[in-house]
Symmetry: C2
Subunit: 174 residues, 2 copies
């Protein structure tokens, strides 16, 4: 099975659903429009305008993952992903939709998923090249220790409380 198949994406997400299917089509379209492959590091960035199922297709297929810092979330509730290639400076905005979606499939989860996966690209996505400033690279910070619980904490997240440096949970518990 191809690493980039929908089946592998569904395995990662945990199940198949219409939201994942449209995210799959949007991500494939975005990568194709930029002519790029999956990001091993942070060379590709995705700015996603929702946090629904489809974002797992972005993570899996484009390699823009929460843990790598090249997945940026804007809480706009819109079916939009913007992919930015740091190397070329090119960016593409992908809007997901369902033009000509058959009304009788509404509420039919499996049939809707199948339609979204197989419809011609122009019925499910619109791509537009855009100019976007690439978000800053993920930064590494040194660590310190919380004076209350003793646990390790990223330096920038320590809070000073009465002259002691505490982690946020310990600071808030005071």
């Amino acid at each position: 099975m191809n690493m980039f198949s929908y089946e592998r994406v569904a395995e990662f997400h945990g199940h198949s659903c219409p939201g994942l299917a449209i995210g799959y089509r949007m991500t494939v379209a975005g990568l194709e429009a930029l002519g790029v492959e999956r990001a091993g590091d942070e060379e590709l960035v995705a700015i996603v305008e929702n946090d629904a199922c489809g974002v797992d297709a972005v993570q899996y297929l484009a390699g823009c993952t929460f843990g790598k810092g090249n997945l940026v979330f804007h809480d706009y509730g819109k079916p939009v992903y913007t992919f930015v290639n740091r190397r070329s400076g090119r960016a593409v905005r992908v809007l997901g939709h369902r033009r000509g979606f058959p009304e009788d499939l509404r509420g039919e989860r499996e049939a809707s998923t199948e339609w979204l996966l197989t419809a011609p690209p122009e019925q499910v996505v619109s791509c537009q090249h855009v100019e976007v400033e690439p978000p800053a690279l993920a930064r590494l910070h040194s660590s310190g220790y919380c004076a209350a619980c003793g646990e390790r904490v990223m330096e920038t997240r320590l809070r000073e409380v009465n002259g002691r440096h505490l982690c946020i949970p310990c600071a808030e518990a005071r």
Copy 2:
């Protein structure tokens, strides 16, 4: 190759690194302590206290993903993941560390990764059963359309501007 092998996690993340290795050990320890398997839906929730590389191990191994809504991020900068099983109500807090980490491996990326992957569990993780209120389930909302750009928007993200309902980017552009 086992879906749950470190190699598969590294393939998802895009590369192998010490941060991913400790996230791998922490996630395996958390799932074992709860006696649960990967989440197909939202039955398992992860509350992560940092957004570093290791969270990709949580997503891949535990099935607690950004797109599924069962990955909760608290920006505390701490090496802590708390896994909550909605079915049993049980929760485990996993703290990652490096007890007895050989000083001569400091700065040696590959050797550090190998040490983190193979050290006995007590040297890299501490698990503690805790009581945690499970976060709310992800909610679905209906959609409307932005009166300016015409694009689809989740209802709860429409903003009223001079009597018209706009998406956040259009509202902010005014």
